[in-house]
C-alpha cells in the first residue's frame, strides 16, 4: 500500500478529532437547552398557579366559582395553558381529567401526557374557605413550543457540526503543509547531495528540535560515507600510480628490445628484467588483495594458541642475515600467549622488523617487545631515529602506500604496503596498531587479544 500524504493524514485526523469534539459539545448543549426549557415551562406552571390560587383563596364573593371559571376561560384562551379543578363539591369541578390529575396534589410540577398532549402539570390542594369547600387546583402548560425549539436546535446542530469538521480539516491541511515545510526543505537539501556534491550537508542549525537529531544522524552517516569514499578514491589513485611505473618499464623495455635485432642473450636479459617487473606487479596485487580481504572483515581462520615471544624469536631468526648485513642487533623482551594464525603474525612481525632495519642507524640495537597490557598483547619493534616524527605523520604510517621518507624508501623491496599489512593482520585478529616516537626511539607495533 502506498503511504498517504502526511498532510492529508494529519488533516483527516484533525477533522475526525473535530467531529468527535463538536458532536460532544452539541449533545451537552442540547441537554442544557432541554433542561433550561423544562425549567422555564415549570416556572410558567408555578406562576399561573400562584395567580389562580390567589383568587381562589382570597375571593369571598358568593359566585366565586363562576368568577374563577370565567377567569380560567380567559386565561386558557391561548390554548397553551389549561386549568382543572376537582372537589367533593361538583360546583368546584372543571375539566375531564381533573379527578385523575388531582391524585398527586403536592404542588410539584411533573411532565405528563394529558389527553394525548405533552404537558407540565402541577396540582395543589386548597383548604376550605367560608365560600367554598376544600378543592384541588391543577395547572398545566403544554410542551409544544419548547419541543419545537429543541428540535429546531437539533436540526441546526448537524450541519454546524459537519461544516465545522470540514473547516477544521481544511485548516488542518494548511497547518500540516506549513508545519511540514522543514521536512520538505530537508528532502530538497538531501536531494542535492551526490557524488559531485558530497561535501553538502543538511543545515542542522535551521532544523526544528524534532528534526535536528535526525539531521545530525544523517550528517554523521554522510561523514562516514565520505570518509570511505575518499579512502577508496585515493586508494584507486594509489594503485594506479603504483602499477604505472612497473607497467611503463615493461612497455618501454620491450619496445626498445624489439626496435632492432637482438641476440638470444640480450633477449634473455630482457625477459629476466620483465619477469622482475612482473613479479613486483604480482606482489603488489597479492598484497592489495590481502588488504582488501582484511578490510572486508575476514578474520584469522586457522588460529592456534601460541607464545608470541617464540614466534617473534623465529621471525627475528629469519632476519638474522639482514640484521648482520646492516650491523644491527636485536634485543627480545617479554612474552604473552595469544590465539593467532602464525603465518599472518610472522608476516606482521616481519614487516615491523623490515621497517626498523630500513630506518635504524648502523650499529644500533633494535628492541623487539611483547607486552601484555589489559587483555591485549603489544608486539612492537623500536629503533633509534635521528629525527622526531610528528604525531600526524605517525598515524599515517599505517596508510597504504605511505612512505615517510621517499628518498630512503627501497623501492625494490618496499612498495609502501608493509605497515598497512601489519594493520590488516592486527584487524584480522581483533587487534589494532600503534606508533610512538619518544626519546629518539620510534616504536611501531600492533596488538592482539591475549588468552584468558
Amino acid at each position: 500500500m502506498k503511504p498517504e500524504s502526511l498532510s492529508l493524514r494529519l488533516a483527516l485526523m484533525f477533522s475526525v478529532a473535530a467531529l468527535v469534539g463538536f458532536i460532544g459539545i452539541g449533545l451537552v448543549l442540547r441537554e442544557v437547552l432541554h433542561r433550561e426549557l423544562t425549567r422555564q415551562q415549570q416556572d410558567q406552571v408555578q406562576a399561573r398557579m400562584v395567580d389562580m390560587r390567589y383568587l381562589l383563596e382570597r375571593g369571598r364573593a358568593d359566585d366565586l366559582a363562576e368568577r374563577a371559571k370565567l377567569k380560567i376561560e380567559t386565561l386558557a384562551s391561548t390554548g397553551r395553558v389549561r386549568y382543572w379543578m376537582w372537589s367533593a363539591d361538583p360546583v368546584w369541578r372543571l375539566g375531564a381529567e381533573a379527578e385523575e390529575l388531582a391524585k398527586q396534589a403536592d404542588g410539584r410540577t411533573r411532565q405528563k401526557m394529558v389527553g394525548g398532549v405533552p404537558m407540565a402539570v402541577a396540582a395543589v390542594s386548597l383548604d376550605a374557605t367560608p365560600v367554598r369547600k376544600p378543592m384541588v387546583l391543577i395547572v398545566g402548560v403544554t410542551s409544544d413550543p419548547f419541543d419545537q425549539t429543541t428540535s429546531r436546535f437539533e436540526r441546526l446542530l448537524l450541519p454546524i457540526v459537519l461544516g465545522g469538521a470540514l473547516v477544521v480539516a481544511a485548516l488542518g491541511y494548511w497547518i500540516a503543509r506549513v508545519g511540514l515545510k522543514p521536512v520538505l526543505r530537508l528532502s530538497s537539501e538531501a536531494r542535492r547531495i551526490g557524488p559531485t556534491a558530497r561535501r553538502q550537508r543538511l543545515s542542522e542549525a535551521a532544523l526544528p528540535v524534532e528534526l535536528a537529531q535526525m539531521g545530525k544522524s544523517f550528517n554523521a552517516a554522510l561523514d562516514r560515507l565520505e570518509g570511505a569514499y575518499v579512502q577508496l578514491e585515493s586508494f584507486n589513485a594509489d594503485v594506479a600510480h603504483e602499477l604505472r611505473t612497473p607497467l611503463a618499464n615493461l612497455i618501454g623495455q620491450t619496445q626498445v628490445a624489439l626496435s632492432r635485432e637482438r641476440s638470444a642473450p640480450e633477449l634473455r636479459e630482457l625477459l629476466h628484467t620483465n619477469l622482475e617487473e612482473l613479479e613486483r606487479l604480482r606482489a603488489i596485487v597479492a598484497d592489495m588483495l590481502f588488504l582488501a580481504r582484511a578490510e572486508q572483515g575476514e578474520r584469522a581462520a586457522q588460529a592456534v594458541p601460541r607464545s608470541l615471544a617464540a614466534e617473534l624469536i623465529k621471525t627475528v631468526d629469519f632476519y638474522e642475515v639482514l640484521l648482520d648485513e646492516a650491523g644491527l642487533s636485536v634485543q627480545i623482551e617479554g612474552d604473552a600467549q595469544a590465539v593467532i594464525e602464525p603465518a599472518l603474525i610472522h608476516r606482521a612481525m616481519s614487516n615491523l622488523l623490515q621497517n626498523a632495519i630500513q630506518h635504524a642507524p648502523s650499529g644500533s640495537t633494535l628492541m623487539a617487545r611483547v607486552q601484555a597490557v589489559e587483555g591485549l598483547a603489544e608486539i612492537s619493534v623500536s629503533n633509534a631515529l635521528a629525527q622526531v616524527i610528528p604525531a600526524d605523520q605517525l598515524a599515517r604510517l599505517f596508510d597504504r602506500f605511505y612512505r615517510g621518507d621517499a628518498s630512503r624508501a627501497n623501492s625494490e623491496n618496499n612498495h609502501g604496503l608493509g605497515l598497512a599489512i601489519v594493520k590488516a593482520v592486527a584487524l584480522m585478529h581483533g587487534g589494532s596498531v600503534f606508533a610512538r616516537c619518544e626519546q629518539g626511539q620510534i616504536t611501531v607495533g600492533f596488538t592482539v587479544p591475549t588468552i584468558g
Partner: protein, 225 residues
Amino acid sequence: MKVLIVEDERKTADYLRQGLTEQGCTVDLAFDGIDGQHLAVHHDYDVIVLDGMLPGLDGFELLRSLRAVKNTPVIMLTARDGVEDRVRGLREGADDYLVKPFSFVELYARLQALNRRGRAQEATLLRVGDLSIDLIARRATRDGQRLDLTAKEFALVALLARRQGEILSKTTIAELVWDMHFDSNTNVVEVAIKRLRAKIDAPFAKPLLHTIRGMGYVLEEREGA
C-alpha cells in the same frame, strides 16, 4: 612425471603444458570438468593440476568424485584468495593449493613435492659435483675441504642439494628453511644465498649455486660453467 592439467583458461593450460613438458613431464590437458573427470578416473597420473572454476563440472565436485575412487595427488588452483576456497579444497581432499596468479616455478616445485611424497627414504649423503653434504653428521665438504656453515646455511644448502637441478623460489626457500609461510618481499633469501655462495662457491673454480633471475635459485653442476 605424468601430469593431468584440468584448466579451462587456454592460455594458462598451454603455457603450463609447455613448461612442464620442457621439464620432462608427460602432460595431458582437459578444458572442462567432464573431460577432466573422465581422464582423472580412467588414467593413472602422478599429479593432477585442477582449476577450481570449471565449465561442466566444478573443480571441487570433480575432486570429490575422484576421491571416491582414487588417491591421485591433486593441487588446486584457486582464483579467489579467499580462505573459504582454500579450506574447501583441502577438505574435499586436495593435497595442495595455489592462488592465481601463481608463478610457474612455484607450481613446479609443489608438483615435485607432491610427486616425491611417499617415495622411499631419501639418501643421507647428498652430492652435487664435488660438493657433498652429510645430513646425519650435518657436515658439508667441497673438494675435500670442510665448509664452515651456520645452522641455517646448512639447512639451506641441504635443501638445495636435496632438490638439485630444481629451481627453488624465494618463497619456497623461506618456507622450508625458516618456516615463514608468507609471500615475503624481503631480500632475506637473496642475502642468505649471497653469503652461502661466498662459502661454497667463491673459493672454488666452478660455481654450483646459480641464480635464475625472477624465479629463484638452483644448485647443480653445469657443463662448461
